[in-house]
Amino acid sequence: MTVPSVAVQSRPSILSRLAESRNALGFGFMLPAAALLLVFLTYPLGLGVWLGFTDTRIGRPGIFIGVENYEYLWSDSVFWLSVFNTLLYTVSASILKFVLGLWLALILNEKLPFKSFFRAIVLLPWVVPTVLSAIAFWWIYDSQFSILSWALQQMGLIDHRINFLGDPTNARASVIAANVWRGIPFVAITLLAGLQTIPQSLYEAATLDGASRWQLFRYVTLPLLTPIIAITMTFSVLFTFTDFQLIYVLTRGGPVNATHLMATLSFQRGIAGGQLGEGAAIAVAMIPFLLAAILFSYFGLQRRRWQQGGGD
């Protein structure tokens, strides 16, 4: 190669070849991940939508039946109950997780001895497999030997055992409590990370201006924390909305479908009941709600961008 003389002329071609190889290399590097995701994520997503329009059962391929599954679900009171339950479960659990998680984050942000130890220990409920901790809750909520009933009785607060999972209202409250227990650490630790990025000088300045503790929280902490709150809560809402394990362990949707979520109903009809088409239709019905949650997150991010002066 006669490098000096050719360099000027051949620059475009080298650049274009570089660009080409970039794309070729990029394609090669993306291939394993893309193949796995396309085959086992994108395709099933489409297949699920298709199955929702068929009457497929386990062991029998179905035929296209249009929106019959959806028509049936539309007039199915159990389905609507599960929608109601899912919304109730998601909204109340998310609010509780947010309030308690933020509170815990604020506490952990204080000057504490053994701070990192506390931070580590607080994460435990989130790390342990949900099914296994749910089994512990199952035992805590046992109708006969519930430790909670026993403790409350000993304190003289109640005079008979609480039927935690047998009564519709109690069962709903119990599964929400278990979900909140598991979700608090995630919210607390992510919000804690957000809190630690807020400069102390802002608090000092506000204190000099005579702000009360509430005003410090309301006008310094909260606005600066909003972006991370938006992201954390979107994830939390998504995970809560699609929850399956906790319900499956604690109540399997009972008593009288009072705790059936859309995911558990989809499993019960689709896999346990063998009506794959109908189960898929229930799963597809969850998608609009998920999109709403993702859009919510998107606008949360927009706001963050705006707060940071356009750059991100």
Binding site: L25, G26, F29, M30, A33, L36, L37, F40, Y43, P44, L45, L47, G48, L51, L100, W103, L104, I107, E110, K111, L112, K115, F118, I121, L123, L124, V127, V128, P129, T130, V131, L132, S133, I135, W139, I140, F145, I147, W181, L192, A193, G194, Q196, Q200, I231, F235, L238, T242, F244, Q245, Y248, F267, G270, I271, L276, G279, A280, A283, M286, L290
Partner: protein, 297 residues
Amino acid sequence: MAAIKEVERLETDEGGMGYLQSLPRRVVTVYLPLLVFLVVLLFPFYWMTITAVKPNLEMTDYVNYNPFWVVHPTLEHIRYLLFETSYPGWLLNTIIISTAATFLSLAAAVLAAYAIERLRFSGARQVGLAVFLAYLVPPSILFIPLSVMVFNLGLYDTPFALILTYPTFLIPFCTWLLMGYFRSIPFELEECALIDGASRWQILTKIVLPLSVPGLISAGIFAFTLSWNEFIYALTFIQSSEKKTVPVGVLTELVRSDVYEWGALMAGALIGSLPVVVLYSFFVEHYVSSMTGAVKE
């Protein structure tokens, strides 16, 4: 990475105005609520542990024995679990499946993250966004079509059904996490290597990967934990008792008819949680910082 530095910085001058608070006030606003939080968050683990070593007699007799304590601890439940059930097999299955899925996903995610973040092929941004969206697709809406696919591919009731489907949530997560790590590696290092004639592959294996070991570790731990905890796919795709994973096995095989072996169940839950807890306690700092980092991206 930024989160760790932030934490370190703040731990040196934390609570800048803490001296303004009196001790009694701190007890009420900080220590007391913290104590309540810790008791509530840790009680189920205590209850799990105490039940696992409690003889059946004490477990159901609340009149003569205080249920919060155990008078004659026993290893009977754990012995039963390890020697008279398929529990050890489930543990082995879970370890094999989680490890395989983790390595598969990490390998794919490293390549993908490097391509998206550093090769900057055309459309890299869109692909990055697509990966993020893929993370938001929940298993609850995929398990029915996946079960049809798994069955048609002849993978039903084999470990491969899980090893191949777990990457659907592991790859997006690991890719997203590693993209953040690769972004923190200066471009200049790669440019130097390119000028010295290194190929992209050499750059990845000799420069980028050694520099992102913390990221790889946390992505690996994350992926391992997520696969260990996975439930709905394992419940749907595996049928034979001896091929189940720990969460599914404990729930479906140890609960027989109306007689609940609470001691064995709790022992199973405890032992099934231990590997994740031990793994996590070794790397907790990575874990916390990468979790918060991943959310902050």
